[in-house]
C-alpha cells in the first residue's frame, strides 16, 4: 500500500518480551518508557525538583547535612525526615518542596514555629544549606524510583530450587549447572540472577546486523516457489518480515496472510512459557539454588 517516512523501528513484543512502551503516564518504570525514545526522564536544567530533574549534591555535603539534621531535627521529625512524634513529615512539606537552596528552610529554622512547638535554631548559612541539601536529596530518593535499591531477596530454599531445576521447571532441557551455568552464582548477584531467570533476553534482539546473541529469534521463510531462507529475525509485522542470513545478507519479504510461510524459533520460549506456570516460591527457590553455584 502506501509506505513513506522513516524506516520502521519495531519493538518485537511477542518474541522479545519487551513491554510496549507507548502507554505510559509516568516515566521511569520498566513499562513506562515512551516508545523508542529516551529511556528515562531527561534532566532539564533549570527545573529543580520537578519532572524528574533533581539536584545532585556531593557526598560530603550530604553527610554534614545528615549529621546536623540527626543531631537537631530527628527527635521531632524522625530519623528519615518522614515525620515523628511531634514534627511533620518534611519530605512532603510544601515549604521544603518550594525551597531551592535553603532560603525557605532557613527562615523557618531562624524564626521557629513557636505556635506549633518548634523552637528557633541558630544555624550558620552553611549549616542551613547542608540541612537543605539533605532534605532535598531525601525527597529525590523517595520520588526517583529508578534509583530504588532492591533489598535482600534471598528467601528461597536452594534444595527446592534444585529439585525444580531438575524436574518441574524443565531447565535441564537447555541448561547444565556444570556447563553453561557453571559458576553462575559468582557472575551475578541474587537480584540480577533472579532477573535473568524471569527475563534472560536483555534489550532488543533485532535490528542489529552484527553481534549475534544466543537469545536471538531465528526464522525460516518458505516462498510459494519452495525456496527457503533462514536467518536471524530483524523485523516482523503483518505486512513484512526481514531476516539476516548466516552470510550477513539481508532479506525482506512482503507478507500476505499466510504467504510466505514463516516458522519462528525462539530460544527463550521455555522462559516465556514458565511465566505462566511459575509460583513466586519457584522463582525464589531457583534463585536461592543458582546463587550457590559459585
Amino acid at each position: 500500500m502506501i509506505d513513506f517516512g522513516r524506516p520502521a523501528r519495531v519493538a518485537l513484543v511477542l518474541l522479545s518480551g519487551i513491554v510496549p512502551q507507548v502507554w505510559s503516564q509516568t516515566p521511569g518504570g520498566p513499562a513506562s518508557k515512551p516508545a523508542d525514545q529516551t529511556p528515562a526522564p531527561a534532566r532539564r536544567a533549570g527545573f529543580a525538583g520537578a519532572g524528574g530533574d533533581y539536584k545532585q549534591y556531593d557526598e560530603a555535603t550530604l553527610d554534614r547535612g545528615k549529621r546536623t539534621y540527626s543531631a537537631n531535627c530527628a527527635f521531632c521529625h524522625g530519623g528519615n525526615a518522614k515525620g515523628g512524634e511531634s514534627g511533620p513529615d518534611l519530605l512532603r512539606s510544601v515549604t521544603v518542596l518550594h525551597d531551592e537552596n535553603g532560603e525557605l528552610i532557613g527562615k523557618v529554622l531562624q524564626n521557629g514555629r513557636v505556635d506549633k512547638g518548634m523552637p528557633k535554631f541558630n544555624f550558620s548559612p552553611d549549616q542551613v544549606a547542608d540541612i537543605s541539601a539533605f532534605l532535598h536529596d531525601s525527597v529525590r530518593a523517595a520520588a526517583e524510583r529508578g534509583t530504588y535499591k532492591i533489598l535482600d531477596i534471598l528467601v528461597g530454599d536452594p534444595k527446592a530450587g534444585q529439585a525444580y531445576f531438575n524436574g518441574a521447571g524443565g531447565c535441564t532441557g537447555c541448561h547444565s549447572v556444570t556447563g553453561d551455568l557453571a559458576h553462575v552464582g559468582s557472575k551475578y548477584d541474587a537480584v540480577n540472577l533472579q532477573q535473568k531467570i524471569v527475563m534472560p533476553r536483555e534489550g532488543r534482539q533485532f535490528g542489529r546486523r552484527s553481534g549475534k546473541s544466543p537469545t536471538d529469534v531465528t526464522a525460516t521463510v518458505t516462498l510459494p516457489t519452495g525456496e527457503v531462507f533462514n536467518g536471524t529475525l530483524e523485523k516482523m509485522d503483518d505486512f513484512a518480515i526481514a531476516i539476516v542470513d548466516q552470510n550477513g545478507d539481508y532479506h525482506s519479504f512482503a507478507r500476505d496472510g499466510d504467504v510466505p510461510k514463516i516458522e519462528l524459533h525462539d530460544p527463550m520460549k521455555g522462559h516465556t512459557e514458565l511465566l505462566k506456570r511459575y509460583t513466586d516460591a519457584d522463582i525464589h527457590n531457583l534463585t536461592a539454588y543458582l546463587v550457590t553455584l559459585k
Binding site: 500500500m1 513513506f4 519495531v10 518504570g29 520498566p30 516508545a35 526517583e144 533472579q194 532477573q195 503483518d238
Partner: protein, 548 residues
C-alpha cells in the same frame, strides 16, 4: 431584483460565517461528529464511532494521502509565546521524550487544533498548512504527553506539564489567560485535554512521585475562575469513604489522578471519569483499606461536582493500575431490557460494564488471559486482590505489569457490531518492595519487566466481556482506535502502520506505513463534502481522503 435578492441571500449566508469563522456551535457536542471533531473523543460518549460512511469497505483500497503536517515544537520563529518559565536555552524547548503527537486534534470549521507538551497549533484541515503556533515557557513537570485542547465558542483550552490551564483565541492563537491548577513542585504534571460541557471547562491532573491527592475541577470558560473542585479522596474522618483509609494523613496523600479526559451523559447530566492509583504507589502498608476513591470510575454532577456514585475497579491497588481509561457510554440491552451502560477495559485486566445511572456492576470479566493478581470478584463485581501478589521484598511475578493490560490509548465502541474494541498487552513484571518503612513514600517498590506474550487488538462482547475476535500483532503494541459506519476499524499496529480492520471479524482491509507509531486515536470528519481520516504518528499529522 433577482440580483438584489441573491446578493441579500449571500450577505445573510456570509454574515454568520464571518462572525463565527472559528466559533464552535455547542450543539455539535451533543451528537455524533460528522462535519467536525469538536471534543477529545469526537463526542461526549467516548465511543469514537463516526456515522460517516463515504470511506467504506468497498472503496478503502482507494484511500490516499492528502497531506502531512510535521510539528516543530519549541520557541520557533513566529510562535506566540507565553508561560511562567524562563526562555528555553538553545537545544531546549523541544521534548526530552521526543516529539510524539498524543493529542486527538479537534476539527472545527475547517481548522485542526492540537498539542504536544507546551505547544498548541492550528492547522488548515484541508491542506495541512500551519495557521498559528503557540509555545509555553515551562517551569518544569514531566513532559511525557498531552492529549489536546477543549473548545468553547472562539476559545481554546489546554493544560501544561507545569499545571496551567491556558486559554487561547482560536482565531489567532493569542493567549487570553492562564490559571495555575496544581503545584509542579509537588510533582503534579498535567496531560489531559480539557472537556467543555455547557459553561464548564473540566480539567484533571496527574503526578505519582510524591503522594499528593488527585482532583477534578470545573473552570469558567470566560474568566478561568474555578467553579467546583472534586477531590479523589475523602478529606476528613466522617466523609464518605473515609473508613477505607487508616487516617486523614494517608487519604490526603492518597493519589487518584484524573489524567484521561472523561465522558458525559447530557440526559443524566453526569460526568464520568476514572481515577488513578492510590499513593504511595506500590507500597500499601501505610494505607491499609480499599483507598476510596482511587482506581475507581466515578459519576459527578456536572453543575456541582458532587459525586453521584462510584465503582472501584482495583480495591487497595499496589500495582499502579489507574482506572483512568476512557469510560465509554452507550445504550444496550441486558437480559432483554434496554439499559444505559458504561463500559471500561481496565488497566488491571478486567472488562467492566456498569449501569451508568446507578453505578451498579453488570459485567466484570478478566479479558487478559495472563491476569494473575485477583481471586475473582465480590458480590459488587469488584475484583478481589490476592494479597500475596502485592509487591514483596523478594519479588512477586504479576500480570499485567504496571503499564497494564491496556492503558490510555482510547478504545472504540461500534453500535452496529455491538462490539467494544481495545488494544491490550499480555506481559509480566516482578514487583520488589523496596520501602519497608511504616510510612513509605513515592512508589516504594521497584519493578522489573519480565517478558510477555505480545499485544492484541480485541473485539469484546459487552454483554459477557468475552473476546469475540482478536488480532495478535507480531511486532509491537496497539494504539487508539476509531470505528465508522463505513464498517471500518482504524488502529495503529505498533510497527508504524495505520491499519484498517473489518470490525465484524478482524480481517485486515488496508494499511499505510507512517513515519512513527500512531500516537492517539485516529479521527474522521466531513469537509467540503469529502471525508477525511486524520491520524497523528510521531511528530506528524497524516490526512487521508479517497482518490478522486
Amino acid at each position: 431584483m433577482r440580483t438584489a435578492r441573491s446578493l441579500f441571500a449571500i450577505c445573510l449566508a456570509a454574515l454568520p460565517g464571518v462572525l463565527a469563522a472559528q466559533m464552535l456551535d455547542p450543539s455539535l457536542l451533543l451528537k455524533p461528529p460528522t462535519n467536525a471533531w469538536p471534543t477529545y473523543n469526537g463526542d461526549y460518549s467516548g465511543r469514537r464511532f463516526s456515522t460517516l460512511s463515504q470511506i467504506n469497505q468497498s472503496n478503502i483500497k482507494n484511500l490516499n494521502l492528502a497531506w502531512i503536517y510535521r510539528a516543530n515544537p519549541g520557541e520557533t520563529p513566529g510562535a506566540k509565546v507565553g508561560g511562567e518559565g524562563p526562555p528555553p536555552k538553545p537545544g531546549q524547548g523541544g521534548n526530552p521524550f521526543g516529539v510524539s503527537i498524543k493529542a486527538t486534534p479537534l476539527m472545527v470549521n475547517g481548522v485542526l487544533y492540537f498539542t504536544t507538551p507546551d505547544n498548541t497549533w492550528a492547522v488548515d484541515a484541508r491542506t495541512g498548512t500551519e495557521l498559528w503556533h503557540y509555545f509555553w515557557r515551562t517551569r518544569g513537570g514531566i513532559h511525557i504527553g498531552n492529549r489536546g485542547v477543549g473548545m468553547y465558542g472562539n476559545w481554546l483550552y489546554f493544560e501544561t506539564p507545569d499545571n496551567y490551564l491556558v486559554s487561547l483565541d482560536a482565531k489567532t492563537g493569542k493567549e487570553r489567560w492562564h490559571k495555575e491548577i496544581a503545584d509542579v513542585k509537588q510533582e503534579y504534571f498535567s496531560t489531559p485535554a480539557p472537556i467543555v460541557v455547557g459553561n464548564h471547562v473540566i480539567v484533571g491532573t496527574g503526578g505519582d512521585s510524591l503522594d499528593v491527592p488527585g482532583f477534578l475541577e470545573a473552570h469558567d470558560p470566560e474568566t478561568g475562575e474555578i467553579q467546583w473542585k472534586w477531590w479523589s479522596e475523602p478529606m476528613k474522618k466522617g466523609d464518605l469513604g473515609a473508613e477505607s483509609w487508616p487516617d486523614e494523613y494517608s487519604m490526603r496523600h492518597g493519589g487518584g489522578m484524573t489524567w484521561i479526559p472523561g465522558t458525559y451523559d447530557p440526559e443524566l447530566k453526569l460526568y464520568y471519569v476514572g481515577t488513578g492509583n492510590p499513593n504511595p504507589v506500590m507500597a500499601g502498608q501505610s494505607r491499609k483499606g480499599d483507598d476510596l476513591f482511587t482506581c475507581s470510575i466515578v459519576a459527578l454532577d456536572i453543575e456541582t461536582g458532587k459525586m453521584r456514585w462510584y465503582f472501584q475497579a482495583s480495591p487497595h491497588d499496589t500495582h499502579d493500575w489507574d482506572a483512568a481509561q476512557t469510560p465509554v457510554l452507550f445504550d444496550g440491552v441486558i437480559d432483554g431490557k434496554p439499559r444505559k451502560l458504561l463500559a471500561q477495559a481496565n488497566r488491571n485486566g478486567y472488562f467492566f460494564v456498569l449501569d451508568r445511572e446507578t453505578g451498579k456492576d453488570i459485567v466484570s470479566y478478566p479479558f487478559l488471559e495472563t491476569m494473575n493478581w485477583s481471586k475473582g470478584v465480590d458480590s459488587m463485581g469488584r475484583p478481589i486482590p490476592n494479597p500475596e501478589k502485592e509487591p514483596q521484598v523478594p519479588g512477586v511475578l504479576v500480570s499485567p505489569p504496571s503499564g497494564g493490560a491496556t492503558n490510555w490509548p482510547p478504545p472504540s465502541f461500534d453500535p452496529e457490531t455491538g462490539l467494544f474494541y481495545v488494544g491490550t498487552s499480555a506481559s509480566y513484571s516482578v514487583f520488589y518492595l523496596t520501602d519497608t518503612d511504616p510510612h513509605p513514600e513515592g512508589y516504594g517498590a521497584a519493578e522489573k519487566a519480565s517478558g510477555g506474550l505480545g499485544s492484541t487488538l480485541r473485539a469484546i462482547d459487552y454483554k459477557t466481556g468475552k473476546t469475540v475476535w482478536r488480532h495478535d500483532f507480531p511486532g509491537g503494541g496497539t494504539t487508539g482506535l476509531l470505528t465508522t459506519a463505513g464498517k471500518l476499524l482504524f488502529a495503529g499496529d505498533g510497527s508504524n502502520h495505520l491499519v484498517v480492520f473489518d470490525p465484524a471479524n478482524g480481517k485486515i482491509l488496508w494499511h499505510a506505513g507512517l513515519g512513527g507509531n500512531v500516537g492517539n486515536g485516529p479521527e474522521t470528519y466531513l469537509l467540503d463534502g469529502k471525508q477525511y481520516l486524520v491520524v497523528g504518528a510521531g511528530d506528524s499529522l497524516y490526512a487521508f481522503t479517497l482518490a478522486q
